[in-house]
Symmetry: C2
Subunit: 417 residues, 2 copies
């Protein structure tokens, strides 16, 4: 891609009301723009990151045998009345009436919808366990949305739901999802911790949160370096501290949450199934959320410096920035740059060629702000010496590399062999 | 994939209120389930088809240089008041108030949002032309939703918007989108016609609809087999018929619509830009829609028989059904089937192995209903002769093929070489 072919719309300054670094940098990098309080549009650079996160989540959920569905965003009140949540949920549930005056809401989660499907479609114990997920835009009418997409009203979420004949089967899938979340956050190249958590108003007893570690995190988590013990500090009072050893405290951003719901919804909504002995069993249920759009912000909170974002390779909008110096004044350089660009693209490198007629300083500043992990600078001087100047986004110094091994060098840097 | 690992939930009969064949077959095949009038959940089999359509649309839009964005689903009334559509649109616009009593709507289209972005972000003529698209769930509060997802209230759409300094530039991108739509519907393996159309209440003067030909189509289109002339019959009165030659009339389902909007929105919302001579220009605008979820239904209207759906290969949920006969009684057959299944998967074939303990007739009926294009039957008798029984979904007769060339045979059938 060439910078003249995408909406590259960087800002020197973020609006004064952007309080946290990911909000400021996403605005400054031109990844998002606000439509209304807590409601954002994703611009092309932001969408590229969002789609990469989404793809990793989808691949790992599919690999774990979960089945993708797409449940209706607009949900009828009847189902929420049945579960009891129409009354419980409060004003964070965005309610609306259709043209005929019927009550609906825009789903913040989909327990009711999926339970309704399951009670109609699951006819035999042979169809269980079953695990479903979707990746969908959701809405939660936060009273004071803030921190950009970190605590937005409209957000992209992966929500998943599993159904079981027994608690033992639920626990098995719960463990599978735990391991799957481990793989997802590892592939996202984020430093994270799964921690014991409070299951809040979703219901159920056992739950774990997955936190991306970042100083700006809203949650405090306590973990032991000697064991696997980790918990949300909120829960510390209710946990015997004796055998936890020395605890460290860190700040985290919650990006995933898995719950053993038990029979809360299936009892209220009568989701039953006959078991092998033709006895009716109330189904056991688990639910599994990942904040897809929030991950983008959390990744920035964890990976940035004073110059801008530093994307983990797995979710960078482009792997490599190719920056020609005064290319518009040199036919010879233009041709060499074009040739290199085509060879990089041909080798599967996602490269952003900065072909704007801008001063080098302007280009460097923009490309560091938007966080491209690798940079190659190509100048007439380099062309004379048959070298390029390479700099990783976290490097202090740049280094000359030979032009004729550049492709191989970059493939290795980008993990493509 | 094995049938025991997906929610295969077929029905013998569709509900009586399902009037058209695609609605009946999507319900019977277990692709969708209704949540409320005109609002549907997509089950795993349906999502697989939807994602394939989506992927083809995305690839072709990207290849045409359009930039993907994700605009907010919930839109503030202010922008719609500016464009005038808050008053114009009528009760099909689903309006709502947030917890603070502010007016919003759930977007049926996004002209206002994208024009608002453009007027803030486009600072120089050098950034134009620019072409954006998104693939998003939308809502139109139809008074009488019917025909399943063909005329649903909630639906998945690709909407695109382009901005230009001149009418000539708009026409150039419009032509590019016309050709891109041609490629998209060709890759979807659908019989279709682009036709001259009325631009309705979206505004603007020139527009084309893309119709999938099907007897059940709601629109009548007239086209010449001697020339490229084709039009929606609604427009026939306003067109001189002299030089159109002999016309044929066919029924079509509108699955795409492209418009030259001109300056309707950019004038109302003051979307201007300085040109090369520093003169302010009101931007020209085009918009380009594709009904992603409607395509799924239209494909069925065009491709079905009395036994069920007949998917075009490009969007089939699985390419091949592998049906073992009484496998559960034969260890030897089970092993041979498992071996063949693994080799098919390893060769990139999307295969659905029917491993249920069902009679062959039940399996055949289900697999024909859900429309898998190719079928291989594997029996003990076949194992003795080293043959499999192949049948294409449109074939009258099945044919024996040698087991040792089965992979090659299927790869060729599925277009994988």
């Amino acid at each position: 891609m060439r910078t003249t072919e995408i909406l590259l719309t960087t800002l020197r300054q973020a609006p004064a009301d952007a309080e946290i670094v990911s909000h400021r940098l996403m605005l400054r990098a031109g990844m998002i723009r606000q439509t209304a309080a807590g409601i954002y549009n994703w611009l092309p650079l932001g969408v590229r990151v969002l789609r990469k996160v989404e793809a990793i989540v989808r691949e790992e959920m599919d690999a774990a045998g979960a089945q993708e569905v797409l449940l209706s965003a607009v949900q009828p009140a009847e189902l929420w009345l049945e579960s009891g949540r129409w009354k419980e949920y409060g004003p964070e549930l965005l309610r609306l009436k259709d043209r005929h005056g019927r009550d609906f809401c825009i789903g913040p989660t989909h327990e009711e919808i999926i339970t309704d499907i399951i009670r109609h479609e699951i006819r035999s114990y042979k169809q269980l366990p079953a695990n479903f997920y979707q990746i969908q835009t959701k809405f939660r009418d936060e009273i004071r949305p803030r921190f950009g997409i970190m605590r937005a009203r409209e957000f992209l979420m992966k929500d998943g739901y599993s159904f079981h004949l027994s608690q033992a089967s639920l626990e098995e899938t719960y463990q599978l999802m735990y391991r799957t979340y481990f793989r997802i956050f590892s592939r996202l190249e984020l430093e994270f911790r799964p921690v014991l958590a409070d299951s809040g108003n979703i219901g159920g007893k056992v739950s774990h949160e997955f936190h991306v570690l970042a100083e700006s995190g809203e949650d405090r988590i306590a973990f032991s370096e000697d064991s696997e013990f980790a918990t949300n500090v909120e829960l510390m009072d209710s946990i015997p501290r004796a055998d936890t050893g020395a605890l460290k405290i860190a700040r985290g951003i919650e990006v995933g949450h898995i719950f053993q719901l038990g029979t809360k919804y299936s009892e209220a909504m009568k989701a039953n199934c006959l078991d092998e002995n033709s006895a009716a069993v109330t189904l056991f249920m688990g639910c599994y959320g990942i904040g897809v759009s929030r991950i983008v912000a959390a990744a920035i909170e964890q990976n940035h410096d004073e110059r801008g974002i530093i994307w983990p390779g797995a979710i960078a909008p482009y792997q490599l920035a190719l920056v020609p110096i005064h290319m518009h004044k040199s036919q010879r350089l233009r041709e060499a740059v074009e040739d290199l660009y085509q060879r990089l693209v041909g080798n599967g490198i996602e490269v952003l060629l900065d072909n704007r007629k801008e001063r080098p300083g302007v280009m460097f500043t923009d490309l560091e702000l938007i966080g491209i992990p690798h940079r190659l600078v190509f100048s007439e001087k380099g062309l004379d010496k048959n070298t390029l100047e390479y700099k990783g986004r976290r490097d202090e110094q740049s280094a000359d590399i030979p032009l004729d091994t550049a492709i191989e060098f970059i493939r290795e840097k980008c993990g493509r062999r």
